[in-house]
Symmetry: C2
Subunit: 386 residues, 2 copies
Amino acid sequence: MLDFEYKNPTKIIFGKGKIKNIAKEIPADSKVLLLYGGGSIKNNGIYEQVKEALKDFQFLEFGGIPANPEYEVLLQALKVIKEENITYLLAVGGGSVIDGTKFLSSAALYEGRNPWDILTKSIRTEKGMPFGTVLTIPATGSEMNSGAVITRAETQEKLGMGGPGLFPEFSVLDPQVVSSLPERQLVNGITDAYTHVLEQYMTYPAGAFLQDRFSESIMQTLIEVGPRVIKDPSDYEAASNFMWCCTMALNGLIQKGVPTDWAVHSMGHELTALFGIDHARTLAIVAPSHYRYNFEAKKAKLAQYAERVWDVKEGTLEEKAVIAIQKTEEFFQSMDIKTKLSDYTESYEGTAQTIAKRFTARGWTRLGEHKALAPSDVEKIIEMSY
Amino acid sequence: MLDFEYKNPTKIIFGKGKIKNIAKEIPADSKVLLLYGGGSIKNNGIYEQVKEALKDFQFLEFGGIPANPEYEVLLQALKVIKEENITYLLAVGGGSVIDGTKFLSSAALYEGRNPWDILTKSIRTEKGMPFGTVLTIPATGSEMNSGAVITRAETQEKLGMGGPGLFPEFSVLDPQVVSSLPERQLVNGITDAYTHVLEQYMTYPAGAFLQDRFSESIMQTLIEVGPRVIKDPSDYEAASNFMWCCTMALNGLIQKGVPTDWAVHSMGHELTALFGIDHARTLAIVAPSHYRYNFEAKKAKLAQYAERVWDVKEGTLEEKAVIAIQKTEEFFQSMDIKTKLSDYTESYEGTAQTIAKRFTARGWTRLGEHKALAPSDVEKIIEMSY
């Protein structure tokens, strides 16, 4: 097991009808900015519940934060925060709204001239404006971690940020929200959470037996409840497990003491930036090729995963590892997630070279758990994903 | 899945040689009271490491906190805290020292006249004196939770306390400490952690699939590394997993969203109070009888546990459930933990009646996950444990 530090101070409030509890969590004298996305919360009753909960607070609203939270839109919200002397942020939405709110939490207290520097200069946020969240789409885990990914359309970039100051103070998880989600968001959520686990698990054995089993537990549960959620999103038992899996997949716990990869995300982000493909789907496109390309380095864990998660008991280690990749692809495909770039765009030619060049330009020359993947490897992996 | 709230702000600092990090965690102007037990830390180098880490702080020492932290001894430490204007506590030890420190954290700021009331009146501690821990014996999980159990020899009582103000601010977990532990403490730790999981798992199915798998993960890992740790406590891979299992077994995570039992602990505490039997061993005495007595209520989970943890694939649900109890007993016995009260004392006659009477006197008439066990049931369970 590798050495680690772990601290996660977010308070989770999980269950039916818990949105009203936010009134107890936000300091009474706060001036709140309520942030949300495209307005779906106005159709499923969540907006009304949140407004009712905030009725004794001074608050303003900022709607319209798009999927893949867009820098230019966030700058407008930042203007509101500063002009209106906002002291508390409340994100009501999925990963995009929460990530956007994390950027705002950081930018609101940032003393530099240009908030984009927080992303390009990897500035770690030690202290942000306090914020809470009401999660409406289980997927990214942003509701219980301190990271965010922000997109800038102008430069077709999608960059990460984070720091211990960016944990939500609280997050309300009411699994009933799942019932109003379209199938596309459900399968994206399942795929996103599943791939989050893979990024922290599909590396090499590091003697972290408990963490391995926790990761396997999340994947097993997603395999078990995923089809039930898709079939009937009002199945509370399935929805509640789906929701908690998504949070646990990326709240930091399973990555402690183990090597992590994250190359799939680095490559996937580029496909979203270039083609607008849903984040989760980019992961399903890249992951199988990534594991095939890095087969030797990852085959021991692939085989363990085949045995424990997919119950593959026969065959050599290599045979099990091959089956593991197939099973993963089939799982994505069973949810109607396409696993090739050409399924999403006809203009995929040259993508591998474009991405490799961008990685070179950014100095991203040491990706993966061994910090051994160069842009030339990325080029080959993306080509295998066509 | 049941509704739940979860927040655990303790910072874990895990790995080799991390004791020196405590200097960064304690506020610079603190006046520290260093608390420890019987002095084993003076033989294994931990005391020297802690003193070196505290060299720039004002600090006093209070040693001699016994196993099952004794109220009268703690009152002496409380006097030191008040007379010397201590502002920060540092527990260096196992669960007893950490639990004792939690009592002191609460009592130091308690405004009532009699600190024993914190225990007898179940006073929840919202704010305590800040404290950190250096864990020297993996077992109780106290290093990452907000509960404590305190003993009062005068009245042969062992009572619990807790509250959100009693999480350690930080806990240092260096698995190298395991190498200096005697076998007795190792097997106690494995048994204690294992039974902690059982108390939160061996109830009835509540549709919390992920939590079930996490619990099974901890038990599987303990079964895997336990014998390795006993055979060679300097096996770092095994020791680090053992240590992290103990913490995860009782840091609150696996109990969220599920019913919990804890009747085994309630009964076990009495055996420690009456006979001085090691805490972990009292759990191994009581648990098998408890599961046999409550077989109907628990058989579904017993069978799931048999299948997933002990790989029992044949037989009816009832047959699997019976095997589950046998396997659990055999696991304890394989570590030379005796599982009958008569293995520890010749004067066991009447114990069941004594304990039942004490429970009646305290009004403890609704134990277990169904809150259905009366003192008359307790009497039968203890008799079955003779």
